[in-house]
Symmetry: C2
Subunit: 220 residues, 2 copies
């Protein structure tokens, strides 16, 4: 009986790794789609998001069954609650990759990124990929060694997000159509939120390993 | 023993009502702050968000204790999982009210809403208040009667959000500075997301009452 239970918990952990790997794929393709204005790639990201949603659905159902049938306590209970929370964050990261791809589709054949901003969004895309990779690592290997990396990349994303507004404020109005400014604002917001959710996942891993909610609260 | 357990579940339900009431207060004040460009009010909303975060923290700890000590099953288990999910959505609604207030502070003494958009944001603010009221009702009175109301207001918010972009596309570039367009884009997105989270809460109430995840998935 206990072995069945351990296998079930391991299965949840494996599903979280699978979800995060799928999120990494999505953000990589979304970055390529937005940087190369590639509509086909954008469509692929939009379609693939349904798979991530389905993975969350499966994981959540299994977590609920474990709670019902095994009535876990202490660290095991934390693992199941943590899995429920992390699946919600990973699902949102998938949504945000989809939102980025949708901006490409909305603006096509025009580019969603005005040339003036291509460098900034290349850096944002790079940071988003790195934070998604770090999230896969965090979930694949027990331990907190990835937490500082994730926090540092999130700060980089926050700074890039602020730099977009500084750049918008400096740009002469005649260089940018209102729709371009709206695109840039939304895209920047999506990348920034993508980082926030990776931080949420890492905070939940901290909670899982320490039982302490404080890091979760302290960064609010 | 069972009576203690029932009281604990009732206590979770009461806390969700309290959280939603606090969210309603915040969005009301945030609307006034943004519509009247009132910095003091904006500061109050920003400060009050810490209370909503603390309420979520308390609720989640109690839910985890109930899972650990009572090992609920079936409908009771769904209630506890549902409470954990709903507290996360309500906490995000509080964050979004704070984000709206922060836009007032960032742009002050200038208004965050260009005059051209004041009518649209008055309607968005009104819809956000109504959806927050409906959420309080939903959580106060068992049943699904509020669900169609919440979905209808959410659709109204989505339409208003799209109308903002249509209006931006039509606006002559010289009428709007880039910072105004960025403000309008973000504010509109915050209101739209506020509605999405109310829908999430109502979907969780459906799950709670029916055990069925499908409405949750079907609206993804």
């Amino acid at each position: 009986m206990r072995e069945v239970f351990r296998n079930e918990l391991d299965e949840l952990a494996t599903q979280l790794v699978d979800m995060s790997t799928k999120v990494l794929d999505s953000i990589r393709l979304a970055n390529q789609a937005v940087q190369n204005n590639d509509l086909d790639l954008a469509e692929r990201v939009i379609e693939a998001d349904a798979d991530i949603d389905a993975m969350q659905h499966t994981l959540d159902q299994q977590a609920a069954e474990i709670l019902a049938l095994q009535a876990p306590v202490a660290a095991d209970l934390r693992a199941v609650i943590g899995a429920l929370r992390m699946s919600a964050s990973l699902e949102r990261m998938g949504d945000l990759a989809r939102h980025i791809a949708q901006q490409v589709r909305i603006r096509y054949p025009e580019s969603a990124i005005p040339q003036h901003f291509s460098g900034t969004f290349a850096r944002m895309g790079d940071a988003a990929e790195k934070i998604a990779e770090a999230t896969v690592n965090l979930l694949s290997n027990p331990g907190l060694s990835m937490v500082p990396t994730i926090n540092a990349i999130d700060e980089e994303l926050d700074e890039l997000h602020l730099s977009v507004f500084a750049k918008l404020a400096d740009a002469p109005a005649e260089d940018l159509a209102p729709r371009h400014i709206a695109d840039v604002t939304l895209l920047s917001r999506y990348y920034e939120r993508f980082g926030d959710h990776a931080v949420s996942v890492s905070q939940k891993v901290e909670y899982l390993l320490t039982g302490n909610w404080e890091p979760y609260l302290s960064r609010k």
